[in-house]
Symmetry: D3
Amino acid sequence: MSEQGGKSERYQRGIKLVEKLYGEVAAKTLNSLQDGAPQLADYIVEFVFGDVFSRPQLDLKSRELATVAALTALGTAPAQLRAHILGALNAGCSKQEITEVIAQMCVYAGFPAALNGMQAANEVFAAGAAKKA
Amino acid sequence: MSEQGGKSERYQRGIKLVEKLYGEVAAKTLNSLQDGAPQLADYIVEFVFGDVFSRPQLDLKSRELATVAALTALGTAPAQLRAHILGALNAGCSKQEITEVIAQMCVYAGFPAALNGMQAANEVFAAGAAKKA
Amino acid sequence: MSEQGGKSERYQRGIKLVEKLYGEVAAKTLNSLQDGAPQLADYIVEFVFGDVFSRPQLDLKSRELATVAALTALGTAPAQLRAHILGALNAGCSKQEITEVIAQMCVYAGFPAALNGMQAANEVFAAGAAKKA
Amino acid sequence: MSEQGGKSERYQRGIKLVEKLYGEVAAKTLNSLQDGAPQLADYIVEFVFGDVFSRPQLDLKSRELATVAALTALGTAPAQLRAHILGALNAGCSKQEITEVIAQMCVYAGFPAALNGMQAANEVFAAGAAKKA
Amino acid sequence: MSEQGGKSERYQRGIKLVEKLYGEVAAKTLNSLQDGAPQLADYIVEFVFGDVFSRPQLDLKSRELATVAALTALGTAPAQLRAHILGALNAGCSKQEITEVIAQMCVYAGFPAALNGMQAANEVFAAGAAKKA
Amino acid sequence: MSEQGGKSERYQRGIKLVEKLYGEVAAKTLNSLQDGAPQLADYIVEFVFGDVFSRPQLDLKSRELATVAALTALGTAPAQLRAHILGALNAGCSKQEITEVIAQMCVYAGFPAALNGMQAANEVFAAGAAKKA
């Protein structure tokens, strides 16, 4: 989708960030797009991470917490919410910062949204604990 | 709605926070509820601010940024989004932190949501500038 | 859109209900559709009111309260919410039943949704009071 | 999160209602919150049930039907919708009242929302029938 | 739900379209409604397909693509999205037209919505390939 | 936001499309972003129109109709819906194709969403008629 040269710089910047924040989770998602919509994989690396998340005007911790808040409130993307809870941990957020933000969403999107957000967090935290054990 | 004694402590804690973050904007909202649903005004002061926002486990800046992210993404409450953009400023966020979070929502809730969020921010920033002038 | 004969029975049943519940408000909405999408006006009279709302298995009061709950929670249709608050009153709901249902939505869709619902109710109640005075 | 004395009264009132309406389903949800966000469990018992649902101005049947309508329309919380369909039965609603409200949501939130709501109802009704058999 | 005579014409027109577009998938959905909400099955055949989709003013390909766009953006009905991706194929859309529309939704409803839409498409395409093999 | 050289090609391609589809409406939106979030203006030109809408795999008519469907269903962005109704006309859609798609959304997102979509269409059509007169 991007012109030669253009692609490489934005792509390189983006893919580094993707690997740092989400590890294997992201590779799986990007691969699943190769058959049907390879442009969507490019957009995610180049635009979402190479452009938006790479802007130095806001730190990655704040970016991931804002995303956790939004996806908890929307309630329509549990898999992506789990990915960004992992990304928030990898960006340096504590578990407590994450659960406080999720719990607070009961005020803005209702208790069912906050409860489903907490279930996502519990799954990510449990998977992390299992890995370390 | 709350038992005697119980009300005063949660309410006192909450109303202080409401006044600090939103000033006159909040008073207007709370008054508008007195006729039809006075319990809703109590819930906002006691529960939202006396309970949720008063927890010391997360700072007010992060709480307001998370709310700005969620309300921008939901896109259904422009007046409350404006109130929380003001609250974010009063909690110590810079204008740039706020606009970065709002712009980032184009990734999670689409460009129309981010554009409407930016319009809300521009209105709040313009009103603040008018006040100072 | 409906076959002759078929249309008249469902339509007659529907239009009576529309007039009973919403009066002039509905006439205005149905007229506004005549230019661009007259089929939508037919669907509303025949399907929504001639079919769905006419089923005797649930009373009109419960139907209108359920609609007020849903539109408050969705938060995307303030004009239609106002129409159904009026419809709830005309179906025999008290103002208090309506405001309790709206306030309760803070639990399921967040406080901004409940606040916007209460503003809609206040506008409908004020218009009604103005008419009587 | 609540002050001593204050907590016990609201909590006692709330937990009785929770047990009456949802039985074991609720215990499981509240327990799952103890690790990550125990405050959310307190809010649900004290605020949602001790404050909001305990108000005598609206009967529990109407409160549960309104919740079933809202969660069907939002379509983002199938587990909580099932819990409230059970709560509606335990509050005295007939199966027919519940299915009429869910079916009516096709008008306000579209047919997919109504279909998913009916699937939730069928699951709850089947589980209840299995229990009795 | 419809008067004699009225039902048969709208129903016949609708059920033919349902069978053409969705095959067995639709029969299963319509059957699942017979116990709890048989009126909903009638509404789907008579109203959705006998009335709305049967209007000659827009071709079935465009109707199905518009539905794929809307359900991808809403993100709350994955089963119905899969049904309409199948319907789009049966109405003559190419796989590429479908994936382009889904990918484009990243702009209007965010990347998580587009990613979940692509997963739905991959499942439908894989099931079709399995059938042919 | 984009590297030199990279920007110009994607930007040139995007801005031509923006001007063709939306005329002055777009210029106003892009200008309003210059103070607070100039990167968002760049993303819209480069990414939304230079990347996504410029892909030749789907014609502009289908892209605009899909967007009209999605924004009508979401119901949270009336100004952007109006812009894309104009864009659909400029891409070659007839008024009837647009109103059929909007009316069809009553099935997937409810009647209030379809009614609000029709109001948006009526406003755009009336403004166009006024211009010609």
